[in-house]
């Protein structure tokens, strides 16, 4: 695997050569500081751009075109990363060797058609196409409770700090949806194309010179944008007393979600000690939480923790019977305290390190993981894979307990299942 970065003025081009895939993957990433009221617009915008283009006037025609390019796949996503929103367009297509001459170029042209030639008339999107995209957003918003775990984490984040981007719902908001018109949606589009930072990643077996000229030919951005805000959120000071919040849901199972802010982390802790701490505490099926809450006490089927290092947050989630709420919270508290006191073994640390090394080695097997790797090296100044592997080996037990001491259980949210109960 070979990585080359080229600064093309208005965007960064990242070329990753690998012979592991029969496809070429191209990801165009727009990023800009996140604003709550922009989220819904972005959700509708990416949907509308995949409904039709100047050349292909319906979703069916767009899909048929992709199928003709030997089943090229095109998708979009909107993601919050710390203080930023990332709007991505991703193309995956078979190389010419496995199809016919020109398939890669035609696929890239197709991706650029979707991004640069939307189905627009007089500075407005087509109303019928926009309404379709709005309808899809309404369905997504109305189905939000169907994934109870996801919903409980969302509500927990809102209870934790409703002013922070941590609480932003990436599905969007109904009140913002109503304000979207075919005209202001076009302004959102123009704003994204003209003002967002842009990075383009290409992964696969190709010649760098040829690929650079292909990308230059089909992707032209006018402005050069350089100044950048930090990606990291400010760490919120934990409450003096734990906040308990609750909401009922017409389900059998209850979902527990806990926000644990981490104060004053150093970069080293963020990228090393915390990663191991989480793996030992609740990250895997060999973790303390899994062994104690599930295996020893039979309280749940799922229990795990995850970290969001840009948000300075550790989140714990479990699916439980509501009658076991106190018992579960007590056990989780006990296990976190044990982490702070160093009640875990050197073997636990070695296992966590091994797990981390395996995941580093797996990066090159997956196009999306490769892109995320170089993206984060670029925007967060992350150490390279090799450096991370070496530095992780040097993490000591006291480093892990030290970062654990900075973790506080702040907001405990219960989505209480009250099925078959009288209200």
């Amino acid at each position: 695997m070979k990585y080359t970065k080229k600064d093309l003025g208005s965007f960064g081009l990242h070329l990753i050569n690998t012979d592991k895939f029969k496809t070429i993957t191209v990801k165009v990433i727009f990023h800009t500081p996140i604003q709550k009221e922009e989220i819904t617009k972005r959700a509708v915008l990416t949907d509308v751009l995949l409904q039709s283009t100047e050349k292909y006037n319906s979703k069916r025609n767009l899909t048929i075109k992709a199928e003709d390019l030997y089943s090229a796949e095109i998708g979009t996503s909107n993601q919050r990363i710390g203080n930023y929103i990332f709007t991505s367009f991703i193309l995956q297509t078979l190389t010419d060797d496995h199809t016919e001459k020109g398939n890669v170029e035609q696929s890239i042209e197709f991706l650029s058609e979707i991004i640069f030639h939307p189905d627009v008339e007089e500075k407005s999107f087509q109303k019928d196409k926009m309404d379709l995209a709005k309808y899809n957003t309404v369905v997504a918003l109305s189905s939000i409770k169907e994934d109870a775990t996801h919903y409980s984490i969302m509500r927990m984040a809102e209870a934790y700090d409703k002013t922070s981007p941590v609480s932003y719902r990436m599905t969007g908001y109904l009140e913002d949806l109503e304000k979207i018109t075919e005209n202001n949606l076009y302004e959102t589009y123009q704003n994204m194309i003209n003002n967002d930072y842009v990075d383009i990643f290409v992964v696969g077996d190709f010649d760098n010179k040829e690929m650079t000229s292909l990308i230059k030919k089909y992707f032209k951005f006018k402005k050069i944008k350089k100044e950048k805000e930090s990606y990291y959120l400010n760490a919120k000071k934990p409450r003096k007393r734990r906040l308990f919040a609750k909401e009922t849901i017409d389900n059998t199972q209850s979902k527990l979600a806990i926000a644990c802010p981490i104060s004053k982390m150093t970069d080293y802790e963020r990228n090393y000690s915390l990663v191991l701490a989480n793996l030992i505490f609740g990250g895997g099926s060999d973790s303390k939480l899994f062994k104690d809450v599930r295996e020893k006490n039979s309280l749940c089927y799922t229990v795990y923790s995850l970290i969001n290092k840009l948000d300075n947050l550790l989140v714990i989630t479990a699916g439980i019977d509501k009658n076991n709420f106190n018992k579960t919270v007590d056990l989780i508290t006990k296990n976190l305290n044990e982490m702070k006191k160093g009640h875990f073994t050197n073997e636990d640390i070695e296992i966590a390190k091994e797990f981390y090394h395996t995941s580093l080695e797996a990066i090159e097997e997956n196009e999306n993981a490769i892109i995320s790797e170089y993206l984060f090296e670029e925007i967060l100044g992350l150490d390279s894979i090799k450096e991370r592997s070496e530095k992780m080996n040097k993490v000591k037990k006291q480093d892990i307990t030290k970062v654990c001491k900075k973790i506080t259980m702040d907001t405990v949210f219960l989505l209480e299942g009250v099925k078959n109960e009288d209200n």
């Binding site: 069916r60 048929i64 369905v139 109305s142 749940c300 799922t302 395996t358």
Partner: protein, 420 residues
């Protein structure tokens, strides 16, 4: 060891069968670091009654195959298999389906040790009253979790409409009441009857040495004897669907619709692989991403995303279509309309063939997807299909048209799930 070429993909897979009947399927890659191992038995939730070699009949508590899968992770030594695999950063898991249970591990280190350990832990059951009881709380929460997922409830409801007696109308995990009846004796009984070499297979894909793999498997399993396969009680399932329509309510805001088509296969005269290809291309043309149907229902704002799936049974194929829709009645009408006015053009037929061939080539890059496909092949057809691309290439519209004439497209059932 037999070597078989995967045509059109420039790769070989290898098959070895031990004297005791255990089958080993291997697809080595030379440009990958990671590997994936599955150790599987053809024992799943649909076995609800069987006769053992002494012709003694055993009626099983529902959900026992899944319960057994959980309990396989219990070791007499007290060592947790998750911990063992974690030591080399290796992932480990298991899953139970209607007709199989598999134990898997995947990673990029210590292939040989991990293969050996995977076989060992599935080879050594250790059930006690207390470890069986302990699991009941965990599985109860698992059942409750699925119970709260509207899409799963919808599918189960449709299964109840489609099947009269077939155990595929019952949830894989069983019910809270039934799993509470399970004893360690039940588990040992199922284990000794269904976890026998001639009912099991091992599938390995990725970065590994095939000779070494066979050597390890032989070392661990060659001593086992071929046993008489238990006689699974077969229920007589009627050709017709059980119920044509049901309405249920659930904790949702947008209604959902599920549509099922039940096809008895005995008079269709196509071999199993071809039959599946033709049925699949039919529903892809009718309901797939580039279908006219999708364009129509999208533009009428009836539905956006649709999930479709075919299920293989011994004497049936069943098609499932599920969607969230604000207008379930209208969607129901549209589906019935589409089915009763079938028209397949040569151009869409050929376009889907091209897409499928491209997808086969792309899929082989992805170890996880490849594993799933090979695993499905082994279960459905008894071996890996090595000439799928050739089979797709030789598909003819005329054969599809002949097949369509033999299918009763009225043998369908609908479930509407409405907000409470």
């Amino acid at each position: 060891m037999k070597t078989i070429n995967l045509s059109g993909l420039d790769m070989n897979y290898y098959v070895e069968t031990l004297d005791n009947g255990l089958e080993i399927y291997m697809l080595p890659y030379d440009n990958k670091k990671n590997y994936f191992i599955s150790f599987a038995t053809r024992f799943g939730s649909e076995v609800i009654e069987f006769k053992d070699e002494k012709q003694i009949s055993h009626k099983l508590p529902l959900g026992i195959a899944h319960f057994l899968e959980h309990k396989m992770f219990e070791q007499e030594s007290g060592e947790d298999p998750f911990t063992f695999f974690s030591k080399s950063g290796t992932g480990c898991n298991a899953s139970t389906s209607f007709d199989n249970t598999q134990y898997i591990c995947y990673g990029n280190k210590k292939f040989e040790e991990n293969l050996e350990y995977l076989i060992s832990f599935v080879n050594d059951p250790y059930y006690t009253d207390s470890n069986v009881n302990k699991e009941k709380g965990i599985i109860t929460e698992e059942i409750n979790m699925y119970e709260d997922m509207p899409d799963i409830k919808l599918e189960m409801e449709l299964r109840k409409n489609i099947f009269h007696k077939h155990p595929r109308r019952i949830d894989i995990a069983g019910t809270v009441e039934e799993i509470n009846k399970i004893t360690k004796e039940d588990l040992y009984n199922c284990y000794s009857n269904f976890y026998i070499p001639n009912n099991m297979f091992i599938l390995i894909v990725g970065n590994f040495n095939k000779e070494k793999a066979v050597e390890i498997i032989k070392k661990k399993l060659d001593y086992k004897k071929k046993e008489q396969l238990p006689e699974i009680e077969q229920v007589e399932e009627k050709d017709e669907i059980k119920k044509s329509k049901t309405e249920i309510t659930s904790n949702i805001e947008i209604p959902k619709l599920a549509y099922g088509l039940k096809i008895p296969t005995k008079n269709l005269k196509l071999d199993s692989v071809e039959l599946d290809l033709y049925l699949n291309i039919l529903t892809t043309i009718l309901f797939g991403a580039s279908s006219e149907f999708r364009e129509r229902v999208r533009n009428e704002k009836i539905v956006n995303g649709i999930h479709t799936e075919w299920e293989n049974l011994e004497d049936f194929r069943v098609f499932y279509l599920m969607a969230s829709t604000k207008e379930p009645d209208k969607l129901e009408e549209e589906i019935k309309d589409e089915i009763s006015n079938l028209s397949i053009t040569e151009s869409s037929f050929n376009r889907i063939k091209k897409v499928w061939i491209a997808n086969e080539i792309r899929m082989i890059d992805n170890i996880d997807a490849t594993v799933n496909n090979l695993y499905d092949d082994i279960l459905k057809y008894g071996s890996i299909i090595s000439d799928r691309i050739d089979k797709i290439k030789s598909m003819k519209l005329k054969i599809l048209e002949e097949l369509i004439k033999k299918i009763d497209f009225k043998n369908t059932s609908i479930v509407q799930m409405l907000p409470k």
